[in-house]
Amino acid sequence: MLGWELPPFNSGGLGEACLGLSRALSKKGVSINFVLPKRLNINLDFINLIFADVDEKIGKLASCYTTCISWSKIFPSESFSPPQNYVKSAFRFAEKIELIIKNLKDEVDIIHAHDWMTFPAAMSAKDILGKPLVIHVHSTEFDRTGGNCPNPQVYGIEKKGFEKADRILPVGGFMKSMIVEKYGISQDKVKVIYNGIDQVKKDLPPALTVFKQLGYKVVLYLGRITLQKGPDYFVRAAKRVSDFYPKVIFVVAGSGDMQDFMVSEAAKLEILDKFIFTGFLRGDEKDRIFQAADLYVMPSVSEPFGIAALEAVVNGTPVLISKQSGVSEILKNALKVDFWDIDEMANKIISVLKYGSLKRDLSKEGSKEVTFLTWSRSADEVLNVYEQLV
């Protein structure tokens, strides 16, 4: 298996997904050599970690970048560098892999690579070993850029990888159609594997208690504040909601290039006093804010999967998710809306705040459902794919 990052040295969902899937696969008896480009101080007993010792500087990955300008905002020049450096690193990874792969020759039945940075390495591994190549796609260049001027070099690497792969595993159906349409790949080669979640609800001290005691309802936005996540739709829906249901606050957990926009937009609509910005949260802090919320809203314009929705459900919080997300294809006990339909978004938010039984049932049924949406379930489907190829 070829990856780019693993927790806790991860910047987003990619590392978590690789870890969850590897753990579940190894429990099912798959032995995994997991190759990372750079040496990291991690120790995992269920996979054999191999480091390729790429000497290029490798920083944390951004899950999305809209333009060159937003890219440079995320990575100020002294700490890191434009996408070209990733491309360079990706090719260095490919060079380094040759030696590693030759040593593993007799141990490998399948090559499984995650996202474009590993594709050059994966392709050269396939050339050397002549074994089937499975490509797992957590996001494409089209997701990361919202379709605005995808980086042609990255697109090229992705397309080549897809063509060379024996099977492509996107994390959602919308992404599958993108791989077929934008990259010209035959859909027989593409099989959707939804992400899983193995988390259980923790007993944590309550958050935002002062507001709750005063009878305020809490609506949560959690995620990067970037165009793809639809923060502008959230603010406009918030305006519509507060006009009808004044005892509400909107908590925004996350950071990103549109945070200033969100603040000024809320100010313009005269609802800034109803907003709380917490910054980026992780671990227990994140779970506490989920548990405090009456509703988690994920208004994403484009969302390959959207694991945060499952994290909310694990914490017993009802979710309203955009129909444009991968997770909306599998999670039944959720409210769904088209991200652009502000009126319907507000209608559903108000309904959850107003009708207690709706919140109760979404939480109860969702909690039951999410126990089935495990990594073990995803791993079973991946195993099916392996069996077809070997």
Binding site: F244, K332, D343, K354, Y355, S357, L358, D361, K364, K368
Partner: protein
Amino acid sequence: MPSVCLYFHVHQPLRVKKYKVFDVGYDHEYFNDSSNSNLNNKKVLEKVSQKSYLPANSLFLKLLKKYPQLKLNYSFSGVFLDQIRKHLPFILTSFKKLIDTGRVEILSETYHHSLAFFYSKTEFERQVNLHKTLVRKIFGLNPTVFRNTELAYNNELAKWADDKGYKAILAEGWDPILGWKSANFVYRPIGTKKIKLLLKNYRLSDDIAFRFSEKSWKDWPLTAEKFSQWISAINGNGHLVNLFMDYETIGEHQWKEHGIFDFLEKLPEEILKDPENNFTTLTEAVQRFPAMDKLDVPHVLTWADTERDLSAWTGNAIQSSAIKFIYGLEKDILATEDIKLIKDWRNMQISDHFYYMCTKWFADGDVHKYFNPYDSPYEAFISFMNAANDLKLRVETCLKKRKKKS
């Protein structure tokens, strides 16, 4: 000697349109969706009429003429009769033709296809009486057999029907309440004097209603010959076979392309081939056969799901809160004496509204999903509750006005 009792339930709900919280106070028409979706009641009615009611009626008219021994039983919800009278009167005419043969019995039920018996006895009786009046007006008949919405039945309901002078009442022939007894006999509900209980043979009924087109079923394809043999096999072990099903089974749930019409066309001939067999109306059945034993049903029994209880309508929090909200309006609604308001309130009691909110998706989900015109139970609940809140607002406004006047 099994007598075959064919009984069809005919009903189309009034589905609540997509109704947003922002519509409360402005839009008082809850059932007038005009989109292309399955929330468009008129469109659904037209579709089902073409696929089911019209061809089924013409088939049965033909069969009634061909076989003088054939007898049928129907129940119509008032909500259904309202809709065809308004939109498709020729469908009503085609039902009347069946009834004019004199060999079709019509049953009594609640006008608004409601579960009122379990929430308000007085409202329940009002709806039963409204239905009686309507059936008398349209068909000139006085029903003497009662079936409650969703076949929801218990001892208390049987007692009520007995007191009202009904000759028979229907229920599901569910094994756990029958024990070693068979649904193919007539019973007497415990604590009643005269009334008899007719039980649905759910296996044979569901062979037609649910399994007819199911290719993975071991007895697929079902032929009239095979089915008649199963009926004849009851000879000696029972007096009658009660085949109860939704009329929409014919042509809508089971498609013409899968042979449901051909099956029914051959059925009377095949059944009558055995001289021991015959067809019966429900009233004739209870006149002909004695009650073999008493039957005790303390808890509510329905046709639905593996539980056969009310949980498909009132099992979760959204369902029970919605149904309580609606019945909680009773006193104020009636006090308005506003015909339109009361009618809207009663149409909000149609049991289908609550069925659409059922979240038992993972166990018996498929059936629920098939019948659900909403994307999810939660969507059904949101539109319903928003509309119900508008109704409440109208009642409050109306009562305030009346107070001012007096």
